[in-house]
């Protein structure tokens, strides 16, 4: 068997577009240290191959075909194990199927199943683009995304087929093939669904057209590493979801960084990664690629079920998972929580975690790897590095340091915090004093390429040439950043900024409080003041009232007097996004119109 020479030849095109010559306000004259370029004159650049993380699956299957690629409890409740050979074969089958139909833009509306994972590889191997869709969205939003992304085909899990109703009826759904996965675990016979049949048809096509396998697919390299690999969408809490353009190069470098930062390459044995984080969210923070890069096992999970997660943690030797602070909070509070015999690395992001949570997690041998990022940065792009020097600090200080968002990732450029009072596109760093608040901005290869079909939003996102997070932070003297709030969540009271994040962190220190969400309410005298929504720990319902919390807060040294909430309501549960962020817009709605009776427990 000879490897595909043609592809290697094709990859040597222009990698990057022409340099822009747009002047920007704060662009000083270029010092441009001229580079001593000793290029040999002779041969074409055989040393360059365009980066693509899709190769990691083919590679894993060729090194260790019998290693477990997938462990999964199917929709039917049966355990399913697939080897790397099997998963790679199935992805390959999908790719040949898609290519035979000419589908190059494919929507995926699935929970964290093996079929989702196979789709991510199969679609890209066919030269296509993955469009993952959040299955917690309304029918209308699902339709909007699939139409806007101009998908030619949709892979859907049977459970969510109903969500396609409006899309199928709409104009954009005409002629789009919908392929249902039953998640039975079957690969042949009666239990197979249309998804499995597509796989089998693709494998037949490959067999009948020369049995070229991976060598005829997009895997080892791509035409141009700056081409699109996926378009995940933002959650769009306040506006239409936006499509975020991911490239092969960006996904590759982000996936490699995640291997190193989360330590997926264990010194002994393979990682077993539990899929608590939705794969649709920022393509699972690139972990579908990272885990295959080290031939780890993907332990799939159809939904967050804390009892099942504890069972898997205890019985399946899970080594890693990723989850938002809210998921970790509820996991730690679950009745099955137990100190694990071996450390499990938990990569935590999505909203700022509290020092309190990190202390709790650590006590259960859930070792936090604290990262921060956006859909626009392939998920994680900063990490709160645990420094050995902190080991001598008082416990509270140590966990407070861990809760900082930290420094730029290994394959990113440094993160910065810039002043907000400047004209758009003017970048002036705030003081590194841990006090001055500004906006977090990013630079480098793990920034997305832009918003799909939205040049105006893209221009704003990159105003001044950096990626704007919309998150407010302080910059500490040690160079680490710490989020204070989303720009729109900050509370301005008597001219002072109150960080809702800091206030929430303080509130969960109360022994009866489980979670806290703080928003601004109008105040005749101060302009705005904070209002807190709280959930309480099991058995705590009767024990505390809002007034008690306000009284308690007045005596906490972590906050100043003006930060004490004006109002506190205790509720059954907090409204959250699919990724576990508290929906502040809903809380603001409650504050304005009154909290719905069914969630309110007391004030």
């Amino acid at each position: 068997m000879s490897a595909p020479r043609s592809r290697l030849r094709n990859v040597l095109g222009h990698l990057l577009p022409q340099p822009p010559s747009l002047p920007t306000p704060n662009d000083p004259p270029s010092p441009s240290p001229s580079q001593d370029n000793t290029a040999t004159t002779a041969p074409p650049p055989y040393h360059l191959a365009h980066l693509s993380p899709t190769f990691f699956l083919e590679r894993a299957a060729s090194i260790e075909p019998d290693a477990d690629a997938v462990y999964h409890m199917t929709a039917a409740g049966h355990p399913l194990v697939r080897s790397y050979r099997q998963v790679a074969d199935r992805a390959r089958g999908l790719a040949y199927y898609l290519r035979s139909r000419g589908y190059r833009r494919v929507g995926v509306l699935m929970p964290n199943t093996p079929a989702f994972l196979e789709s991510i590889y199969g679609i890209v191997a066919a030269g296509g683009v993955v469009v993952p869709v959040n299955y917690r969205l309304k029918e209308e939003d699902v339709r909007y995304i699939l139409e806007f992304a101009e998908v030619q085909c949709v892979f859907v899990d049977r459970e969510f087929e109903g969500l396609l109703g409006r899309f199928r009826k709409g104009k954009g759904g005409k002629g789009v093939e919908v392929i249902v996965d039953l998640d039975t675990g079957a690969t042949e016979g009666e239990m197979c669904g249309p998804f499995d049949e597509a796989v089998l048809e693709g494998l037949r096509i490959d067999q009948e057209t020369g049995d070229k396998g991976w060598s005829d697919l997009v895997s080892r390299t791509v035409t141009n590493e700056d081409d699109t690999i996926a378009i995940p969408f933002t959650s769009g809490t306040t506006s239409r979801p936006k499509g975020v353009v991911y490239t092969h190069r960006g996904a590759y470098l982000a996936a490699l960084a995640n291997v190193v930062e989360s330590g997926l390459n264990l010194p002994e044995g393979r990682c077993k990664y539990l899929w608590t984080l939705p794969m649709f969210h920022a393509v699972g923070w690139t972990f579908p690629w990272s885990v295959c890069a080290v031939r780890g096992t993907h332990v799939c999970l159809r939904k967050i079920d804390y009892a099942l997660i504890w069972k898997l943690l205890k019985e399946q030797g899970i080594t890693h998972f990723n989850a938002a602070p809210t998921v970790n909070t509820l996991l730690c509070a679950h009745k099955d929580a137990e100190v694990l015999p071996r450390p499990v690395r938990v990569t935590v992001a999505a909203s700022p975690p509290t020092a309190h949570l990190f202390e709790q997690m650590t006590s259960l041998n859930l070792i936090p790897v604290h990262v921060y990022g956006l859909t626009e940065t392939y998920g994680p792009i900063t990490r709160g590095y645990m420094l050995p020097a902190w080991d001598v600090l008082p416990k509270h200080k140590k966990y407070a340091n861990m809760a900082r968002q930290g420094h730029g990732f290994l394959t990113s450029l440094p993160v910065r915090v810039i002043k907000q009072d400047q004209p758009e596109g003017v970048l002036v760093d705030v003081a590194r004093d841990g006090k001055e608040m500004g906006e977090i901005v990013f630079e480098g290869n793990i920034c997305c390429k832009g918003y799909y079909k939205d040049p105006e939003a893209t221009r704003k996102l990159f105003a001044g040439g950096v990626l704007h997070s919309g998150d407010l932070a302080v910059w500490h003297p040690d160079g680490s950043i710490q989020i204070q709030d989303r720009a729109k969540d900050i509370i301005i009271s008597g001219g002072e900024n109150i960080s809702s994040v800091a206030l929430e962190s303080m509130l969960v220190e109360h022994p009866d409080i489980l979670e806290a969400g703080v928003v601004a309410v109008p105040d005749a005298h101060w302009g705005e003041r904070p209002k807190a929504y709280l959930t309480v720990k099991e058995g705590g319902e009767g024990r505390i009232r809002g007034a008690d919390v306000i009284e308690w807060a007045k005596h906490q040294s972590a906050i100043s007097r003006y930060m004490v909430p004006r109002e506190v309501e205790i509720v059954r549960e907090l409204p959250k996004t699919s990724t576990g962020k508290i929906k502040k817009n809903v809380l603001r709605e409650w504050a304005k119109k009154g909290t719905p009776r069914e969630v309110l427990i007391g004030v």
Copy 2:
């Protein structure tokens, strides 16, 4: 402080040269699955930054300035510790010094000292190219390399200043500044040498010209990631040393792969990397960058001293080192050898190791990471992955599997073995049967750019569009490769190929034999037959004679009868290159002219 906008703007040039349109014999028509490119039309590509590993030092110093970057026993015998802040400051000083002088091509003739490490970063930060020179070369070769590479400045350790004699007297040495490092560990005062003074002058220059620090140097990005970062030279056992062109992108991707493959990112704490491998060799296999990427400690070492290495292993908590099989053989045989309390990962390459060695190492808690590569591939480019499935195999089989060279690295493309009987540039894979022998060839981003100022050698290196190793291997059914020999070392006896590597592996299984080197000798009947040169273990000198070994070899099942050496000589030591490879050309010389009396012990 505002980060340097200008540099980020400068990086957006062409990354890759124009595609070549050279036809090659086996290039089928391109299937070219057209990529669905969904590029947003709006902004310039702010999401792209040119890769350079030099940033890893600046980054480490900004995250953890007080972490130990260097531990070293100076030439004067004093222990020296430098923090990341200090090493980064010194590299920065060097960079400003070099830039003020206009030096962009700098030779480095040093043992593994902190100054070497600082030079690698300082030279590149100044926009220059590192030319490391092997200090075990003859004066004439040192002169050749420095002249050929057109260096404008040389950093030299005092111990090796004498080696510059011919260079200084020659034409190419005129006007070249030679800066001596005394390796005293001093940073100011009388003990400082010229190298330290250059550092101080550079720091003054930075201070006097606006205190721009790293922001004005080449660190976060470069003008073009395909530009040259270093030109290490091949050892040139048979011909003139060749300059191998390394790029920023190649070094970056190789360094990241080494982090993952050698597991430098420990789950807990920082790695402590012991510099047994010469830094001049393939720029230390990119480990000067890999170790800084994870903020590890470089434990420097002026020379291989087995007693000192054991002392450091036992007392300094070394977690990783790299060394050739010969170094590991002598290390395991040393009188201070002891089972280490915690596993130390030893990345082994340079020449094919034996199963026997891996078994020995493992018993001492020196856990082998078996890699293979060339100076032309930035050092390691394949790894013999340890598969959990091997745990059930008989011990001997397991270690034999470990001794295979394995599969392509994470950031490489797959390695191949091609038939030798084809016209130049025609690539036909051998059968994956573990039997057919062919040449190992490489593809992808961790192949060098070519040979410096040698288009003809570069053309040959990349004949057919792949990098030719010159090493012969078989390809196993599981996709792993196993080296049989250098093309020129294979012994052809009665039409059969005899692998000198396989024969050496068999010979060291003998309880009294320490090392073995096998070469071909002319044979009237068979054409060629093997001759073995052996060293024996301590105390074994009197115990065996060559004739005994031949008799013993006849009864070993691992080899066929025709492979039994015709002659065996026992010698005091084997001739080796600076990287620990046995010099087969010297053994062939001995076989022809007679073994020198001073090394011969018996036959």
